[in-house]
């Protein structure tokens, strides 16, 4: 039995932490360093931090903030947002993170994945894919925080990421983001059945049962969630939480 990683996924906007719904309407949650410190104290399996504005605004990662966040993490942390070059990846890893998450840049060219994996190894590179369901029931890869549609099909795009050296795929459903009504299991299955690297499912988790479904029915290697770990109750009061003794197995 392998223990399944359960990963809070935190979104950065400027210097603040936010949570979106369907990649829109960011709600301000608070100070990211403080939130990360609490997650570290709760001994979360891992963290994913995504700067949701960096690629859209065409700017570099905020290295100072990343270093401050990494300094609080006694667990692995992945960072994504605005990474286009090996040099940026190197700077981030020097800041104290384990993995760089490449999304938008890889929809244009997988060079940065290949270059980073060559130097730091595949385990240091997560290929992230944001997916939206089309009107006809198919799936479409989107980039720049779901503002741009990508021509390459989902399966082909993911194959390119893995071939270039991504050691893990972070699969996020735009339609399920922030809805807390469960994962898109069909989407997860369609990806896990095609690749041999770990797949982290994200988008839609509201309960521990949802997480278990993504693992058991979707065959995800790991699960990520945002809202579930930052909101409490029907009124969505902000409360950093992580179920004590949470343990999913596969």
């Amino acid at each position: 039995m392998a223990r399944v990683r359960v990963i809070p996924c935190l979104l950065l906007r400027g210097h603040g932490l936010v949570k979106t719904r369907k990649f829109k309407d960011p709600v301000y949650l608070g100070d990211p360093v403080n939130a990360v410190r609490i997650f570290s104290e709760k001994e979360v399996d891992e963290l994913i931090i995504l700067d949701i504005d960096a690629s859209r605004e065409g700017r570099e990662p905020d290295y100072e903030l990343v270093a401050e966040i990494a300094g609080e993490c006694f667990m692995p942390v992945a960072y994504g947002g605005g990474i286009k070059t090996l040099d940026q990846a190197r700077k981030l890893i020097r800041c104290g993170i384990e993995k760089v998450v490449i999304n938008t840049a890889a929809t244009e060219s997988t060079d940065v994945i290949r270059a980073t994996a060559d130097v730091f190894g595949s385990q240091a590179v997560t290929g992230a894919v944001d997916v939206r369901k089309t009107l006809f029931g198919g799936y479409r890869v989107v980039s720049k925080s779901a503002t741009v549609e990508v021509k390459t099909g989902l399966e082909e795009h993911i194959r390119r990421l893995v071939d270039a050296g991504a050691g893990e795929i972070f699969l996020n459903s735009v339609d399920r983001d922030g809805m807390m009504a469960g994962f898109d299991l069909e989407l997860i299955r369609s990806v896990t059945s095609k690749v041999n690297v770990p797949v982290v499912a994200c988008g839609g988790a509201g309960t521990v049962e949802h997480l278990a479904q993504a693992v058991q029915e979707g065959c995800a290697s790991a699960v990520a969630a945002g809202s579930m770990f930052v909101f409490h109750g029907k009124l969505r009061g902000v409360l950093i939480n992580y179920p004590q003794g949470l343990r999913l197995e596969r």
Binding site: R3, D45, F74, D118, Q123
Partner: protein
């Protein structure tokens, strides 16, 4: 003082950060004088085996490390690829390892459903519970692993901790003053903190 050998590979800040949290004086360095005076050495490693070996060799520090570790017998802890480098070599590349521990590094086999790299938390079995590095370890201790290759020691008594992913593999090896851990103690919450603390105090 503990020195973390800096050969421009990977995430060294995290190791130093954990020692800082433990109140242990540590420095990330490739300075010959500092390594000469060090009480203990941490050898980190990240990424490809060959790149790590080439990087370490390029610093010119290997003869000094051999003098300090093999002759003066100060404690050394290898982490991840830094642990793998203690063996003779790896299936990942063609570079010879340091050869300080009689072991080989092998790729995880292609088994159905076994995704590689092995990335995640894993419980370990203690083969020598009284060893200073692992004594008092929590029964439920778990560590963060991320690797595609695993250590296989020739002598079973050199295996300090065993973990399982598709097959049993050495999560930690130890021969005298030389130890290596496949996982990342600096990223394994209080479990890793305890191990690094015991390395700093007892090692």
């Amino acid at each position: 003082m503990i020195v973390v050998i800096d050969y421009a590979i990977g995430n060294l800040a995290a190791v130093a950060n954990m020692f800082k949290r433990l109140g242990v004086v540590c420095e990330i360095t490739s300075d010959i004088e500092k390594i000469r005076r060090a009480k203990k050495i941490v050898l980190p490693g990240n990424g490809a085996f060959d790149a790590c070996m080439q990087g370490l060799r390029a610093t010119g520090l290997i003869p000094l490390l051999e003098e300090r570790v093999l002759h003066e017998k100060i404690p050394l802890l290898g982490i991840c690829v830094g642990a793998q480098m203690l063996g003779h070599g790896s299936e990942e590349g063609g570079e010879p390892g340091l050869g300080w521990i009689d072991m080989q590094v092998k790729r995880f086999p292609a088994l159905p459903g076994l995704r590689v790299p092995h990335m995640g938390w894993c419980h370990v079995k203690r083969n020598a519970p009284a060893h200073p590095l692992v004594q008092g370890m929590d029964e439920d201790a778990r560590f963060y692993f991320v690797h595609s290759y695993y250590m296989q020691a020739v002598n079973p008594q050199d295996v300090l901790l065993t973990a399982h992913y598709g097959l049993d593999f050495a999560a930690a090896v130890c021969v005298g003053n030389i130890a290596g851990v496949q996982f990342h103690p600096e990223k394994s919450h209080r479990y890793g903190k305890q191990l690094l603390g015991q390395f700093a105090r007892n090692g």
